[in-house]
């Protein structure tokens, strides 16, 4: 509470200060980070996708990336402690009033769209590349919308397909049951793991009919959950997309609603210290699952599970390795993160301060969010550039009848940019840039958390030491993933 009040005070203080000076400060901070991110780019001469990537001196890039993150950590350590805290101070914006009915209408339209997509799943084209249901869920929602939330703020509050209908049928009713407090957001963690298992290990998650069954069942269960346990609780603690998207929205520079503001990416996530350990694990599972998604395609992973990477036998042959790998990957990440935090806490307070570990673990976990987003962008960028073309074609011909509505679908889908050294190089640089930028933001966020956890400059720096090592190692891991040959 004390921290919260301090923050409110700072926002007020900032609102009354010189706006121009603060803007200059934010722009300068952006510029420093941008230069830090772009410097190793100068060394990336022959980057390219897959085969072309293997021709590059990737060891040098990985070293340069790790050096960048290390330099950003050193920079943060050198500047006055409060400098980073000031970076994350938001600027209030003029309040914009939007009637609640508008949100209801948008959500109702979203429900209609969702049901139309479900209909398409059952009755539309069988080809998942021509059916708008899998294209919408796996490309527009799972890949694109995550980024939109992180850039533009909480759009999901309006666009989710439940709240409008809920308000119409049940807004005034008191929920019949209450979710136990002890459950925190653990249901959402379990659902996130199940969702990733479906995407990674299921035999045909793209099959329109199969996906329609799963999506409709999930929609119904969620709506029933909202009716029985109340929309607010269910969406905040169980519904996995709402929990996920809201976390991503907290990375956005923008906040809308009653107290609109703009600030450095991540400022909203730092506004209040995270205290819910289940949320902390949720953040880590986001990164763990995303990382395993990349890892499970590499030659290295395939060799570990005894699969010839040049002769991938198909998903059906690796359902259990993928399932166990995803679970193990997340457990390992949580353990490594806990160790990193523990090391920092031990350095800052000595062994006797173990009771600080839990709160530190939970509070520091928000700094994982930008990395999870960076990996998300890097991992999905190539497939997004292909899939979005299919989305366009399917919008022009949603029923598979050879239509070209809105003038869409006339051209052929192309993957030429993945087979061309020049464009692949740009793509790889963008992917690596996303990974690096996310780590730099993460370093800044971790520092901000440390300032509020520890007293005194020395303790602030010591308590993030373990995380600093983890950030550097994870940068190396992330760039190695991008540079590794893949067999899936």
């Amino acid at each position: 509470m004390g921290v919260r009040n301090r923050h409110v005070d700072r926002i007020r203080e900032m609102a009354s200060g010189s706006c121009r000076a603060r803007w200059a400060f934010v722009i300068r901070s952006f510029a420093i980070a941008l230069v830090a991110v772009m410097l190793p780019g100068l060394a990336w001469a022959h980057a390219a996708e897959q085969g072309f990537v293997l021709l590059m001196p990737t060891d040098i890039y990985i070293a340069a990336g790790a050096a960048t993150v290390a330099a950003s950590i050193a920079l943060v350590g050198l500047v006055p402690v409060q400098t980073v805290v000031r970076v994350f101070r938001p600027f209030p914006l003029r309040a914009m009033q939007c009637p609640e009915q508008a949100a209801t209408v948008v959500s109702l339209l979203s429900t209609l769209l969702f049901l139309a997509l479900i209909w398409l799943g059952f009755n539309g084209p069988n080809d998942p590349l021509a059916n708008l249901l899998p294209l919408t869920i796996w490309t527009l929602l799972w890949v694109v919308f995550v980024v939109l939330q992180a850039v533009f703020g909480d759009l999901w509050r309006w666009l989710n397909p439940w709240t409008g209908l809920y308000r119409v049928v049940s807004a005034s009713r008191t929920p019949l049951f209450q979710l136990p407090q002890a459950a925190r957001s653990w249901f959402a963690v379990v659902l996130l793991i199940l969702l990733n298992l479906f995407a990674l290990a299921d035999l045909a998650p793209d099959d329109p009919e199969r996906l329609a069954v799963v999506a409709l069942a999930y929609w119904v269960i969620t709506f029933l959950g909202m009716l029985l346990f109340g929309a607010q609780d269910w969406l905040a603690r169980v519904e996995v997309f709402s929990v996920f998207f809201r976390l991503m929205a907290r990375l956005s520079p923008f906040r809308f609603g009653a107290r609109p503001a703009i600030g450095w990416p991540g400022w909203q996530a730092l506004e209040r210290p995270q205290t819910d350990p289940s949320r902390a694990v949720f953040c880590l599972v986001l990164l763990g699952s995303g990382s395993f998604d990349g890892l499970h395609e590499t030659f290295w992973w395939l060799a570990q599970i005894g699969i010839n990477p040049l002769e991938f036998p198909g998903r059906s042959a690796v359902i259990w390795p993928s399932t166990l790998g995803l679970l193990a990957g997340n457990i390992v990440l949580v353990a490594i993160f806990a160790l990193a935090v523990a090391a920092g806490v031990a350095l800052a307070y000595g062994q006797e301060q173990r009771e600080r570990l839990g709160p530190a673990f939970t509070a520091f976990s928000v700094s994982i969010l930008p990395i999870a987003l960076g990996y998300h962008v890097a991992h999905y960028l190539p497939s997004f550039l292909v899939q979005i073309q299919y989305v366009g074609a399917a919008l022009g011909d949603p029923f598979g009848r050879g239509w070209h509505l809105f003038g869409l679908g006339h051209g052929h889908v192309t993957t030429g940019f993945l087979n061309n050294a020049a464009t692949v190089r740009v793509l790889w640089l963008t992917q690596a840039g996303a990974v690096l930028a996310s780590h730099v933001i993460s370093v800044l966020m971790a520092h901000h958390v440390a300032v509020h956890l520890a007293q005194g400059r020395s303790a602030v720096l010591r308590c993030q030491a373990g995380l600093a090592v983890l950030m550097i190692v994870y940068t190396i891991f992330g760039l190695w993933l991008l540079a590794s040959p893949r067999g899936v």
């Binding site: 897959q50 085969g51 072309f52 990537v53 293997l54 021709l55 059952f122 009755n123 539309g124 084209p125 069988n126 080809d127 998942p128 590349l129 021509a130 035999l203 045909a204 793209d206 099959d207 030659f299 395939l302 060799a303 010839n308 990477p309 040049l310 002769e311 991938f312 036998p313 198909g314 998903r315 059906s316 042959a317 029923f399 598979g400 009848r401 050879g402 051209g411 052929h412 889908v413 192309t414 993957t415 030429g416 940019f417 087979n419 061309n420 050294a421 464009t423 040959p485 893949r486 067999g487 899936v488």
Partner: protein
């Protein structure tokens, strides 16, 4: 009718056809819809449904995209010429995920859910091998375009046929005479150390020995390898020609390192284009390939003596003279393989017409009609070249192309004859009952 991949609820489709039938029939008869009048004389106006098992996702997706494009172009042409037995052809696309189990599931959907007449498509051998038994159980004719030897080896069944593309054994064997006679007698083979590489090793060693050549070294590379320089000292100094069949993302590294190892003086080099399908041959880093030779199932670059059939085929699929998409010159096609879809669909058409195919009850007649096929001359139906189908082994044989990289272009240096690729029958599927 190119109603590609639309779901087919039997009830709604029947209703729709009943409703549409009267109106469309009347319009067609009066010439209002001249395109549809082509189908007016068939006993049934219901479409022939061909289930297309597509690698839409999974490791085969790059091939699947071009197989899909070729398939759509072939069906458009067939329908433009009046369909099959006066009925329009409808492609029902399902994603096999490049997975054998999913492949079998998809065949079941074709037979039981979509009411398909036949199944068709798919390249990757493990999907074919995983699906074929189900095709046999469903009694669903399964026309594959996989170039694997599994069809002719006898491991599949009477319902599985490969009439539109040659198999690897034949391809490898037909390379040997040219290699031994023109590139050199002493061959060093470099191949990935698993079944695919072993097939090449065994088939080619036997074939080149029969031509008076000699394999002086067999260098097996572990599949997980991504750097190859340390293997090159094992290439004997007296090697005349290197035969390589590397696949996977490290192929470009292999080529680059081979170039660096040999410098300007190198032995002749022969490889299979499979490793560079969909990659422009003049990509940066591939300069070392200049002057080397490649097997090509179908010449990617239009040749000086290009046939009218190849010209027509390229235009129909939307591929330019360099084998790239007409809408993106960087989007290089899988030109060496995808003709198999085009030719297979034309064989299905010919088989259905020869057998008077009317519906699923005639499936065995269709298979017998295809089994009875033999020589197929080069034509618009067979733009890659002439074929000779072996009804006993369910495998087709055809000409093979060897191209030399000349000024960054693939120029055909030799066309291996059908006879070069023939081998003794290993099975007689016609003895199996339906």
């Amino acid at each position: 009718m190119t109603n590609i991949g639309k779901k087919t609820s039997l009830l709604t489709r029947r209703r729709a056809l009943q409703g549409l039938g009267a109106g469309v029939g009347a319009m067609a008869a009066t010439g209002v819809l001249p395109g549809l009048s082509r189908f007016a004389h068939a006993q049934s106006s219901a479409p022939i449904k061909i289930g297309f098992q597509m690698h839409a996702t999974g490791i085969g997706a790059a091939y699947g995209r071009w197989y899909d494009r070729t398939t759509k172009a072939a069906v458009e042409r067939i329908n433009g010429m009046g369909g099959i037995n006066g009925r329009p052809v409808e492609i029902v696309t399902e994603d096999d995920g490049t997975d054998p189990k999913r492949g079998a599931e998809v065949l079941e959907k074709f037979a039981n859910q979509h009411g398909c007449d036949v199944a068709f498509g798919t390249l990757f051998s493990h999907v074919v091998i995983g699906s074929a038994p189900r095709a046999g159980e469903l009694k669903l004719p399964y026309f594959v375009v996989s170039e694997g030897h599994h069809v002719a080896s006898g491991m599949l069944n009477r319902y599985t046929l490969q009439p539109g593309i040659t198999d690897v054994k034949s391809q490898v064997q037909s390379m040997a005479p040219f290699v031994a006679a023109n590139l050199g007698k002493k061959v060093t083979m470099i191949f990935p150390d698993f079944a695919f590489g072993h097939d090449h090793r065994d088939f080619f060693t036997e074939a080149v020995t029969a031509q008076g050549g000699e394999v002086v070294a067999q260098i097996a590379i572990p599949p997980t390898e991504t750097s190859f320089t340390r293997y090159f000292p094992n290439i004997p100094r007296d090697t005349d020609v290197i035969y390589h069949v590397m696949v996977g993302p490290a192929v470009l590294t292999f080529v680059k390192e081979l170039g660096e190892f040999f410098g300007p003086s190198r032995p002749e080099i022969f490889g299979f284009i499979d490793s560079l399908e969909a990659v422009a041959i003049n990509s940066p880093g591939l300069e070392f390939l200049e002057g080397t030779y490649f097997w090509e199932g179908n010449p990617r670059h239009a040749q000086a003596d290009q046939s009218s059939h190849d010209k027509m085929y390229r235009a129909a699929v939307g591929v330019d003279d360099l084998g790239a998409s007409v809408s993106d010159s960087k989007d290089v096609s899988t030109y060496a393989h995808m003709f198999g879809c085009w030719e297979t669909l034309n064989i299905i058409k010919a088989g259905m017409e020869a057998s008077g195919y009317q519906g699923p009850a005639d499936r065995s007649k269709l298979i017998e009609a295809v089994e009875a096929m033999s020589d197929m001359p080069m034509s618009d139906d067979h733009p890659q070249g002439p074929k000779r189908f072996n009804g006993k082994t369910h495998q087709t044989f055809g000409v093979q192309y060897i191209s030399k990289v000349t000024d960054g272009k693939l120029v055909v240096a030799h066309t291996a004859s059908i006879d070069d690729g023939l081998y003794e029958d290993e099975v007689d599927y016609t003895t199996q009952s339906f």
